[in-house]
Structures are given as structure tokens and as C-alpha cells.
């Protein structure tokens, strides 16, 4: 049985559709990612599923139940991490965890929650004195207070340093091993690729691609990406004509060539450089990522 079923979800703000008729389902035990740039409609989607926003149209079934039939039965079984978690500033970590425990019929012990998110040494720290990463781990622990079957994480690592980000990733992987169903939103490709079993790529309120990260990449790119800083503004015509190149794109001075035959493409580039047709810095070859998928589908990079 699907943990979540969304059909034709639509939400309009002041005449502008934030989510424009999307449908998808999330299977039990999977980590499902909503990937897209800011303003794509990810948060609106996840908050409609959480029951925090009222959809204008469409049907949402969570754990076999419709939110309109009374949310509290579902609220006992789900855990929510909002994009920004506001907390009583002058309560300690342990006090907040035990307070939130009283909101549920059943709650995990505070010590276990602290261990889950590695905050044991911060148990008596006031929440206002936590660092960004610690605050985010606390908000993750608060989402886990009721030992939920289904967990929603809205941009769990946005604004965190790489080390804190990896810490959160490890916690999410650990939760996945425990069999939790997790829905997360992110605009980090790497995060989606590392954590998610399946991804829905969103842009302007619609889903533009759907599948496992590997499927999405393979579907759109047979091979690798050749990237370089272009110094004298080579034309896209010229770049597209290089052997092996399936597609060339330019973002400022950064040129990306998708190639099904990397050795030949690079060889031809070096030849063109000798003849003065191209001048480049920072030449590198990498495999295609979800970022490339997004770039191909929308013509824009995801992070701006």
C-alpha cells in the first residue's frame, strides 16, 4: 500500500498557481525527494500533504486516510520538520523534547531522541544558544518524538555547513534503515542523489521529471559532461559540431558539453584550441548529475 497518494493537487495564491495539478505516490519505506529551485512549489506540496495547508483542488491520502476526515489521527502517526522550526527560545533541548512528547499519545524517551540526533551533550542548552546545525538536528528530533511511521523533512540541510549537512544525511540514512517512510524537499542535487530512492523534479508548480536519480540521469544523458571556462566566447554552433557532443549549453563563461564519446570530444577540443578557435581554462570531465537533468529540462540551473 502506498504511504501517500496525491492526485491533481492544486494550490493557488492570489491567482497564481503555486502547485498546478500534480500527482504522485510514495511507497512505504522509501525516501522520496521533491527536488527543485526555490519557488517551485515543493514546500506548498509537502505542507498540503502534512495537513498544514488547505489545497484548492485534488485529493491527498496519507497512510490510507484523507486529512479532511479529521487530521489528528494522522498527526499521531507522522513527524514533521518545517522549513523553519520556531521554538521557545529559553527552553533547553531536553525540556523541548519532553514538552513535545506530551502532545502525543505515545512518545519516545528523551535520551533515545538525543542519541538519535547526537545531541546528548547539548541536552541542557537553551534552544536559542544552539548553532544552525544543532538547531536543525533538534528540529529533526522533535519530528521523531512520536516515533512516526512517516516523516516529512522540508529542506533539512538548507543553510548548513558541509559537515552539519553530512551529519543530517547520516541520521536520515539511519532512519531509512529503520524502515521509516521519508518525504523530503531539497534544492541540493547531491542531497537528492545521496538520500532519495525516487525523485520528483519540480519547476513552476509542476513535476517535470520523475524516477530514481540514476534513471533520470541515464534517461537524459548517455554519458559524461565536459565542462570548462570559455575565454573567448566560442559559438554554440562550433561547440555542437565537435565530435561526440549531443548537446552544448552555456551559463555565463561556463560551458557544458554533454558527450557520448568523451575521448573524441576532448581530442577535438584540444585541436580547436591549437588552431585558436577555442580558448579554455579549468577543463574537467565528470559524469552527469541531476543538476544536468534540471538544466536540460528547464535551461536554468537549479540553485539560482
Amino acid at each position: 500500500m502506498a504511504a501517500i497518494e496525491v492526485r491533481n493537487l492544486r494550490k493557488v495564491y492570489q491567482g497564481v498557481p503555486a502547485v498546478d495539478g500534480i500527482s504522485f505516490s510514495v511507497a512505504e519505506g522509501e525516501v522520496f525527494g521533491l527536488l527543485g529551485p526555490n519557488g517551485a512549489g515543493k514546500t506548498t506540496t509537502i505542507e498540503c500533504i502534512e495537513g498544514l495547508r488547505q489545497p484548492d483542488a485534488g485529493e491527498i491520502t496519507v497512510l490510507g486516510r484523507d486529512f479532511r476526515s479529521g487530521p489528528n489521527g494522522i498527526k499521531e502517526r507522522i513527524g514533521i520538520q518545517l522549513q523553519t522550526t520556531g521554538l521557545y527560545p529559553r527552553l533547553t533541548v531536553a525540556e523541548l523534547l519532553s514538552l513535545f512528547g506530551t502532545f502525543y499519545a505515545r512518545a519516545l524517551p528523551v535520551d533515545e531522541l538525543l542519541r538519535l540526533v547526537s545531541l546528548e551533550d547539548k541536552r541542557n542548552t537553551l534552544s536559542k544558544n544552539l548553532s544552525g546545525g544543532q538547531h536543525q538536528r533538534l528540529s529533526l528530533a522533535l519530528a521523531l518524538v512520536n516515533d512516526p511511521e512517516l516523516l516529512f523533512l522540508d529542506e533539512p540541510t538548507t543553510g548548513l555547513d558541509p559537515q552539519s549537512r553530512r551529519q543530517i544525511w547520516n541520521i536520515v540514512k539511519d532512519l531509512k534503515r529503520r524502515g521509516k517512510t521519508i518525504v523530503l524537499t531539497t534544492h541540493y542535487m547531491e542531497e537528492a542523489q545521496t538520500l532519495c530512492d525516487r525523485v520528483a523534479v519540480m519547476d513552476s508548480g509542476t513535476i517535470i521529471a520523475f524516477g530514481t536519480p540514476r534513471q533520470l540521469i541515464d534517461q537524459h544523458f548517455e554519458t559524461a559532461a565536459v565542462e570548462f571556462e570559455d575565454r573567448n566566447g566560442a559559438s554554440l554552433e562550433l561547440l555542437n559540431s565537435l565530435p561526440g557532443v549531443t548537446r552544448a549549453s552555456r551559463d555565463g563563461t561556463l560551458v557544458t558539453l554533454y558527450s557520448r564519446d568523451t575521448p573524441h570530444t576532448v581530442e577535438a577540443m584540444l585541436a580547436a584550441a591549437r588552431e585558436g578557435q577555442i580558448a579554455f581554462d579549468d577543463l574537467r570531465v565528470r559524469s552527469a548529475t541531476l543538476e544536468d537533468v534540471f538544466l536540460k529540462l528547464t535551461g536554468r540551473r537549479i540553485r539560482d
Binding site: L52, T85, G86, R90, L91, E95, F103, L142
Partner: protein, 374 residues
């Protein structure tokens, strides 16, 4: 409802750990009491420093003793020059000079038994500071009474008509007595304006209410714990202020009336806390709220008659005074705490405060939001 006590404790912890909140709810009103108590001291319980110059030697001793027996006087004896100098320095409220020959004159009058009009008399000189009208008036009155008492004693005439002083609180209210209920009323108002609206806007602005809304927590539980905390806080404030007033300034609070006082405190606090819930709907940020609650705070404080009697205010401002809830809360508290005469009838006060409570509650119910809009 099992979250009620934990939420209540969360409010307590937030409050106790917030120095600013502690200052405004506890230290600030206590400071008010001390500042006003000291500025407006002067009343029947204060003693006056009186200089006594005995120029009659042993003959004047009896009079000296009589003056020393007066509780309101703190007698210092010395030479005429020294005492007058002290008076000029403001160290004495008055200086009484007993001229030489007083003792022998008194003895002669006592011997004749006062049967015939006594030809002899003694004039005590009383020096006072004309610049300090109020104090001098009180001191001269007391001296006058003391002296006429002595005259009666010595001449043996039993007065037909005597006055037996009866304490009537209405006329016996000192400034601090008048102020204490007012300061309590003020602090209850500020509990509603700053102690309720402020934290609510902050919790909403930070998204704390939104986060709790994502849990099965019942909003009625959250609301009732917040209100209960503020009611307890109101009672603590009342106990603190009444305690300070009684201990430091000897305000005679009618202890038998304390349950009634508590009831009035809860009534007033619930009115202002409800008003706080409504005012919190008018602002999205704490900064914006400061202006919104600052204005009523200022107007209510100075136009409500909590610091000085309503009678003293100019007629044209009375329509404003008459609709301010703080006016009636102060009046009602004064009446219950001190058994003092009140300006408005109890019914009027209860009705006006009840009206404010009702309107605030309706507006709060209509406009209160748990989440930031947008």
C-alpha cells in the same frame, strides 16, 4: 489535556529565564512604589523633627517632657542659635522656644486652681519655615492641640465639647495608600499589554505556534495554559506589591478582604490579558507591536486616575478618563484593598470592565491567528 501542565511550566521557564520580562512585571512596579513612596512621603505616620529651646532651665523641664511624649515629634534640644540655624538648613520642621519664667508662671496658675481668670500667661514662640506650607501647617496644628490640652489640664476646666477622633479611611488616605492599588492596576494592565501581546507576537513571528500546530496538540489546551499562567502571574504580582506596600510603607491593607482583592485582580487581569490577545492580532512583528501597545499603555497610565484622583483632572478630559478600563480597575482595587471610598460604584466598575472584557474577547476570537499571514 496532559500537555496543560507541561505547557504551563514552559511558560514559567520562559518567563523566569527572561530578565526583561522579570524586570517589567516585578522590579518595575516595585520601583514605582519606592519612588512614589519616597517622593510623596509625609502623612500621619511620619514624625517631624522639632527643635526645642529651653531658656527656663529646670522650670521648663515639665514642658519639655510633655513635648517629648508626642509620638509625631522627634525632639532635639539645643540653644536658640543652634536650633534656628538647623531650621534654616531644613533640618527642623519647627523650633519651639520656652522663655524663661515659664515654670514659675505655670506654678502660680496651678496654685490658684484656675478658679478665676488667670492674669498670667506664657507665650511659647514657634518658628517655622513658611516656604514649606504643608508641613508647617501640620506641625502648628499639632502644637496648638498639645498646648490647648496642657491648658485644660492646668486650669482644670473640663471642656463641655470634646472631639473624639475617629479614623475614617477616606480622609486618612496617604499618597502611598492611594498609589498602591493604582500601581497594582498598572502592572496588571502591563501584564496584558507587554506580558501577553508581546510574547504572543514573538511566538507567532518565530513560528513556535505553527510548529506546535503541526502536532496533535489541542489549541484549547495551549490557550488555557497560557491564560492560566498569566492569572497565576497576576496573583503573584498582587502579592508582591501588596507585601512591599505593607512592609515598606505600612499601607493598611484590609487583610480580611484579600479573597475579594484576589477576585478583582483576576477579573482585571483577565480583561487586560484578553485585550492583549486582541492587540497581538494587530502586529506581525514585535517591533510593530511596541507602537501598538505603547500608546494605550501611555494614555491609560496617565489619564486613568491611578496616580492621582479623577477629581483633579480638567473637565474636558473626563470623557476619556471615563472610558479607560484602568480607571475602574484602580478604583475597584482601592475600594477592596483599603476599604476606602471609591469614586465609582462597584456596579459601574464591574460593568465597564466586563464590557471591555467582552469586546476584547469578541475581537480576539474574530481576529486571532496562530500563524503569520502570507
Amino acid at each position: 489535556m496532559k500537555a496543560f501542565i507541561p505547557l504551563f511550566l514552559a511558560d514559567v521557564r520562559e518567563f523566569v529565564r527572561d530578565r526583561t520580562a522579570l524586570f517589567w512585571t516585578a522590579a518595575f512596579p516595585v520601583m514605582f512604589i519606592f519612588i512614589f513612596g519616597v517622593i510623596f512621603s509625609g502623612g500621619d505616620d511620619i514624625s517631624f523633627s522639632i527643635g526645642l529651646v529651653n531658656e527656663d532651665g529646670p522650670g521648663g523641664e515639665q514642658l519639655v517632657e510633655s513635648f517629648q511624649a508626642i509620638e509625631a515629634f522627634e525632639i532635639t534640644t539645643g540653644t536658640r542659635e543652634a536650633e534656628l540655624a538647623a531650621l534654616k538648613d531644613g533640618d527642623r520642621a519647627a523650633v519651639i522656644v520656652i522663655p524663661s519664667g515659664t515654670g514659675s508662671t505655670l506654678a502660680r496658675v496651678a496654685n490658684t486652681g484656675g478658679g478665676s481668670p488667670a492674669p498670667d500667661s506664657v507665650a511659647l514662640s514657634v518658628y517655622y519655615d513658611a516656604a514649606n506650607q504643608n508641613r508647617s501647617q501640620i506641625v502648628l496644628n499639632i502644637i496648638d492641640k498639645v498646648v490647648s490640652g496642657m491648658n485644660q489640664g492646668m486650669t482644670g476646666i473640663t471642656p463641655v465639647l470634646t472631639i473624639e477622633p475617629q479614623q475614617v479611611t477616606a480622609t486618612d488616605l496617604r499618597n502611598i495608600d492611594y498609589l498602591l492599588p493604582g500601581i497594582l492596576a498598572m502592572s496588571l494592565m502591563q501584564l496584558g499589554l507587554f506580558g501577553t501581546a508581546g510574547p504572543l507576537v514573538s511566538l507567532r513571528e518565530k513560528g513556535v505556534l505553527r510548529r506546535m500546530g503541526a502536532t496533535p496538540l489541542n489549541r484549547a489546551t495551549l490557550l488555557s495554559s497560557q491564560v492560566a499562567f498569566r492569572m497565576v502571574l497576576a496573583l503573584c504580582q498582587a502579592a508582591l506589591l501588596i507585601g512591599v506596600g505593607m512592609l515598606a510603607f505600612d499601607v493598611r491593607v484590609d487583610l480580611a478582604n484579600l479573597p475579594l482583592v484576589a477576585l478583582v485582580v483576576l477579573f482585571g487581569a483577565s480583561m487586560f490579558v484578553t485585550l492583549g490577545y486582541f492587540l497581538s492580532t494587530l502586529a506581525n512583528t514585535e517591533e510593530a507591536l511596541q507602537g501598538i501597545v505603547g500608546l494605550p499603555n501611555f494614555i491609560f497610565m496617565f489619564l486613568s486616575g491611578i496616580f492621582f484622583p479623577v477629581d483633579m483632572m480638567p473637565e474636558w478630559i473626563r470623557p476619556v478618563v471615563d472610558v479607560i478600563p484602568l480607571t475602574y480597575l484602580g478604583d475597584l482595587l482601592r475600594k477592596t484593598m483599603l476599604e476606602a471610598g471609591s469614586y465609582y460604584s462597584t456596579l459601574t466598575s464591574v460593568l465597564v470592565l466586563g464590557g471591555w472584557l467582552l469586546v476584547s474577547a469578541l475581537l480576539a476570537l474574530r481576529f486571532f491567528r496562530w500563524e503569520q499571514q502570507g
